[in-house]
Amino acid sequence: MTIEFLQSLSEMQIVGELTVLSLLIGGIIMAGGVILAKIAKLLFQKYYAPTLPKDTAQNLSKLIYFGILIISFLGFTSSQGIDLSGIMVAGGIFAVVIGFATQSVVSNLISGVFLIVEKPAKHGDTIQLPDMGISGTLLDIGTFSSKIRKFDGTVIRIPNEKFFTSNIRSLTVSTVRRAEAMVGISYKNDIENAISVITNEILTTMPFALCIPEPEFRVEELGDSSVNILVLVWHPRDDWSKVQPLLLTTIKRALDNAGIEIPFPQRVIWGAKD
């Protein structure tokens, strides 16, 4: 009964040698391929992905999924007796045309591959792209573009080509980072005393400021109105928000308490006598 039914299907031709039976077999191969791809992707994500870096796991997962789909598709075409060699030749010419038309897309794809291989930054890193003025957390390096969550909560998508050719400043590679602030004190005040009171205030009231290395001070400029001192404070990498935004407040409090003047811009005018 079943054999007779299949035989009848094989005799029902649709186009040329394409029969309902071969189409059915092709459909089963494709459906099997899709199911197999999904199962393989699920198993990979469950058992192997947690041990890998997130972006590597995502890319391998896509590779497994689409790899199985492509193999299934090739199985489908061969089951239908479709000769792909003709398509290959036509495809070659077509690829050249498409290549010119979609240069940026291909460029993004290739850049994505290079980004995955070179790994200038990984998922979750806090990075800065100084050329573009973008800072934030790297969410994903995808096939054509990368996504960064900026500190204001918005997500920005950057084409991989631009991302790859940009200067990338990683803010999470080192264990510690340095906060900086510039302050000007009056010429009449003692620089050593100002440095001493600022150091003391920083180490007393800023728990995330590192004691070793100690806060560093550089007299940057003997300015028009003030002696300008650059204050450099090291802190644990993830605690930038607990040091940098508070640094100027802490410095001003220290100088106020010690009676050290932060002068306004001023100009001395000498009147010439006749």
């Binding site: 264990t175 510690v176 728990p207 590192l210 004691c211 290395p213 644990p236």
Partner: protein
């Protein structure tokens, strides 16, 4: 409004277990803890610490009693947990001549943990530091490759009884110099997560370490091993996750 009393007027609470039926007030240097029953099976927890910061919690309980333990814990949590390592900078350098050994006691900062006791289990409820000024970070090494540590400048202690209540415990450090030249030791850096703490009344002692300075190939290294204390004092519960690591090589200068 600040409600804390002057420390000089207060008898501070000892470490140990406390049964709470209705309320309990614990007094520590610059810190006050109040636990009060607010319903049949619920207690409230209030703490004002040395920086004036107030923490309040609600504690639902199965039975109508609450049992807590106040005990010293490793100094890794204030102002935030960032590292397992501690950097003890000695206030005076120690000189060790070649092929010699010395045994010293040093003060080591501690924090205080408050644990809920369920059956025989202890669950961390809160932690405090009574001396936030001695709870800072330091970097051992260069900024690009260094190790972040909790940093404390410490003085030598006379013996285990020299512990400064609620603020510093005492740790024994055995230093052996197997090198063919004298060495000056001014600081020691090691992961403290395997060192247990023990308490009695308000005093604390900490598992010691043995540091062996030796030559491996052409490099001078310091091998650090833990020396567990055999003591009648009560062992503190563990606050943070503990990673088993009985031997380690870390920096020493």
């Amino acid at each position: 409004m600040k409600t804390m009393r002057n420390d000089s007027e207060i008898n501070f609470s000892n470490y140990g277990e406390y049964d709470i039926n209705d309320n309990l007030d614990l007094f520590l240097p610059n810190t006050e803890i109040k636990i009060q029953r607010i319903s049949d099976n619920t207690f409230s927890y209030f703490r004002e610490d040395s920086e004036g910061k107030i923490t309040e919690k609600i504690i639902p309980v199965k039975s109508n009693k609450l049992k807590i333990e106040l005990s010293p814990i490793r100094p890794l949590n204030h102002p935030a947990r960032r590292t397992d390592n501690i950097f003890l900078k000695f206030d005076k350098e120690i000189y060790l001549s070649k092929h010699s050994a010395a045994s010293i006691f040093v003060h080591c900062p501690i924090e205080i943990g408050i644990f809920l006791i369920h059956d025989s289990n202890r669950e961390p409820l809160d932690w405090i530091t009574c001396n936030h000024l001695n709870s800072r970070f330091g970097l051992y090494g260069s900024p690009d490759t260094g190790t972040l540590c909790k940093y404390a400048k410490v003085s030598l202690a006379t013996d285990y009884s020299d512990s400064i209540p609620y603020v510093e415990g005492v740790m024994k450090i055995v230093i052996e110099n197997t090198l063919s030249s004298g060495q000056i030791v001014s600081k020691v850096i090691f992961p403290i997560t395997d060192n247990s703490l023990y308490y009695e009344n308000s005093k604390t002692i900490i598992d010691g370490i043995k540091i062996t300075m030796k030559k491996r190939a052409l490099v001078n290294i310091a091998d650090v091993k833990i020396i567990p204390i055999d003591s009648d004092w009560i062992k503190s519960p563990t606050w943070e996750d503990n990673t088993v690591n009985t031997s380690m090589t870390m920096g020493l200068e």
